[in-house]
């Protein structure tokens, strides 16, 4: 054994800037708004292979709609999306503080990514199923999931719909089209494909939408799901939320310096779209395009939502340790809430005072939900009956659980 350092040539990618450096994003390959043409949904996949290297954008810098990626919207849809996104942000802010006050163990915000749950939630149908990541509470917000139930789950209290069994924010809400979350990343991506195949098998035109972080595309789950989706032409929309960071790890460690995440679709023979995730209209149009393909039997689409994680990974994280503190504010594609607001104002459907009133009303709703949750009890002050710890392992408890329940006297 020696202490000599050989002059190695193993390549390890590094991000363009670290704390203290001026912000440098490198080449983000941003297409101008409106520049990408919208193909017909039945266009053959080989004709779509340029799409993964472009960026679908519908809103220009002034908040006007440009180009062909136009969502098919019903009256009030955009206001509904705005409400869900503003509510998500207010809820996240409040619950993050609540964790800091020691009232629960853990929380994760989705700031900057609110469009990615809210918009597909509104664009898809009630019978469709979302296989979310932990950063998609906006899906539930868009479907008016009761805030009280979210708060009770976060407090693991006596009213927790998941009976205190699960970490905060790992919700499950079948009636709202929201599949059970787990702490493992990536492991439900294939479930979305299986669910979609079940719908095809039954001859029902409901579809599934699955999400995975860009960091997690490295897992086998991602590639396996794409293979099954492609082979069985599953009616599924598979989404990569590329928010540039996986905890402290930049997207280059998941391969972003070599190709785009949308381009992974090419190898599986399915269309890949690369979409500005901070542009509500582009997200809407892309979701509808992919959903229409799925529903009409044309198979799966991979969508990369290009966005930025504007906050720390979770309450356990300090992003100032690995990226410049002003990186979020320099993100060239702006903030999804601000951009939608600007668009609605440009349309004449919104103004600052209505926005202020919206912010006030969501703040009030969050306050009321938290008050209710605190009245039931925060983590440790209140919990479901200890009996619940032993329930639900199997449909019928076996002797082990029955004996062990006996040991704790219930």
């Amino acid at each position: 054994m020696t202490n000599d350092r050989r002059s190695g040539r193993l390549r390890v990618p590094e991000p363009s800037s670290r704390p203290g450096d001026p912000v440098e994003f490198g080449d983000l390959a941003l297409s101008p708004a409106g520049a990408v043409a919208r193909p017909d949904i039945d266009a053959p996949e080989p004709c779509l292979r340029d799409l993964p290297f472009l960026l679908i954008r519908t809103l220009d810098d002034a908040g006007n709609v440009v180009g062909g990626w136009l969502p098919d919207l019903a009256d009030g849809d955009l206001i509904r999306a705005l409400k869900a996104m503003v509510l998500t942000r207010a809820f996240d802010e409040r619950m993050f503080k609540i964790q800091r006050q020691g009232k629960t163990s853990f929380y994760m915000k989705s700031r900057g990514e609110e469009a990615l749950g809210a918009v597909p939630s509104l664009a898809l149908r009630q019978g469709d199923m979302c296989f979310p990541t932990y950063r998609l509470v906006s899906w539930l917000m868009a479907r008016d999931y009761p805030l009280e139930d979210l708060v009770n789950q976060i407090f693991s209290n006596a009213q927790d719909p998941l009976k205190g069994r699960q970490l905060p924010i790992l919700y499950s809400a079948r009636d709202y089209g929201f599949y059970s979350l787990s702490g493992n990343v990536g492991s439900r991506f294939g479930h979305a494909v299986g669910w979609a195949m079940a719908k095809a098998y039954r001859g029902i035109d409901d579809i599934a939408i699955g999400y995975i972080g860009e960091g997690t595309t490295a897992e086998g789950d991602f590639h396996e799901a794409l293979t099954f989706a492609s082979v069985y032409r599953a009616p599924v929309v598979l989404c990569v939320t590329n928010n540039q960071w996986a905890i402290s790890t930049f997207s280059g460690i998941a391969g972003a310096q070599e190709t785009t995440f949308a381009a992974k679709a090419i190898a599986y023979g399915i269309p890949g779209l690369r979409v500005d995730g901070n542009d509500v209209l582009a997200v809407w149009a892309a979701t509808q395009w992919a959903a229409a393909r799925a529903r009409s039997g044309l198979g799966a689409t991979l969508i990369e939502f290009f966005t930025y994680r504007a906050e720390g990974h979770s309450t356990s994280d300090d992003p100032g340790k690995y990226r410049p503190s002003d990186e979020a504010s320099k993100w060239p594609l702006g903030d999804p809430v601000e951009r939608l607001k600007q668009h609605l104002i440009a349309l004449g459907e919104w103004d600052d005072s209505r926005h202020a009133a919206l912010e006030e009303s969501v703040a009030e709703a969050v306050r009321a939900a938290v008050k209710q949750g605190e009245a039931v009890g925060t983590l440790g002050q209140s919990k479901p009956s200890v009996k619940e710890m032993f329930e639900g392992v199997f449909k019928e408890p076996d002797w082990r659980v029955l004996e062990q329940r006996g040991e704790v006297g219930i």
């Binding site: 054994m1 020696t2 202490n3 000599d4 350092r5 050989r6 190695g8 193993l10 390890v12 590094e14 670290r18 163990s105 853990f106 693991s156 209290n157 927790d160 009976k163 205190g164 069994r165 699960q166 970490l167 905060p168 790992l170 787990s182 702490g183 493992n184 990343v185 990536g186 972080g213 960091g215 997690t216 490295a218 897992e219 086998g220 789950d221 996986a246 905890i247 402290s248 790890t249 460690i253 998941a254 391969g255 356990s316 340790k321 690995y322 983590l379 919990k383 479901p384 200890v386 619940e388 710890m389 032993f390 392992v393 082990r400 659980v401 062990q404 704790v408």
Partner: protein
Amino acid sequence: MAVMNMIQALNSALDTMLARDPDVLIFGEDVGYFGGVFRVTDKLQEKHGLDRCFDAPIAEGGIVATAIGMGAEGLRPVVEIQFADYILPAYDQLVSEAARLRYRSNGEFTAPITVRSPYGGGIFGGQTHSQSPEAIFAHITGLKTVIPSTPYDAKGLLIAAIECDDPVIFLEPKRIYNGPFDGRHGQALTSWAQHPAAQVPEDHYSIALGKAAIVREGADVTVLAYGTMVHVALAGIADAGVDAELIDLRSIVPLDVDAIVASVKKTGRCVIVHEASRFGGFGGELSALVTERCFYHLKAPTQRVAGWDTPYPHAFEWDYFPGPDRVAKALAHVMEV
């Protein structure tokens, strides 16, 4: 000598090995620039270079597969799986590949890799940040499984694991990274500073794998534990007021069966303590060994104190966690018989 908590001791072990052996390198999720979510690899990239401690893609199977390839070539990779709960995507690589490479190639290829991973509960981490998966590794011949309970042991055992020519699963009890938690969760946290085993040499030393430590000598009952549960067992022994002999196994494969047998033959009673679920847990193996080898010395049936046979539930952290009260109850029970 310096006073170190377990994180610092592990960091010191890695630092020592990187400095000593150019074939050692580290990778895993978030271990590079950031230094790991628990800070175990803090500053190692800065000190030893980008290609010696670097971030890995989020792919546990890929991390272990890559480590095996490097190890087969002759390097000594030390990889981190961010939480032991997330080691399962790598299970096939560990079981079908790392554990068998030497055997099936008649020693032509081997996998001298170390897989570090924080495990265990007591941190309100819910189902997927709390599990204790040691039994699923102990069951696999060809894998060694090591679990330290103090900073001193953590450094010496980790160095031994890295120097070991076979694959080692190195499970780090994250609840005691910063202090020797004894299961009394209502009380103020104690730091390692006052603990004698927080005195850690800054230089290289190693502790042979497969040598248990007698933490407390006693005449009436043998208590077998590892990791966090060593400290919990001590508290349970104090509560029960029995003259128990506490053995810290330190590694469950290789297992110091001689130390166990000698102690149980002396005391005639045995209580086994682990955090993992009881059914099919490593306690079952220990209990079988004790029965097979000490049957005629036993005065009472061996008892297991373990997690319940449910997933690890968030709200019920302390109902699930086998604390000192459950240890004391089992001790009282074997003493009554």
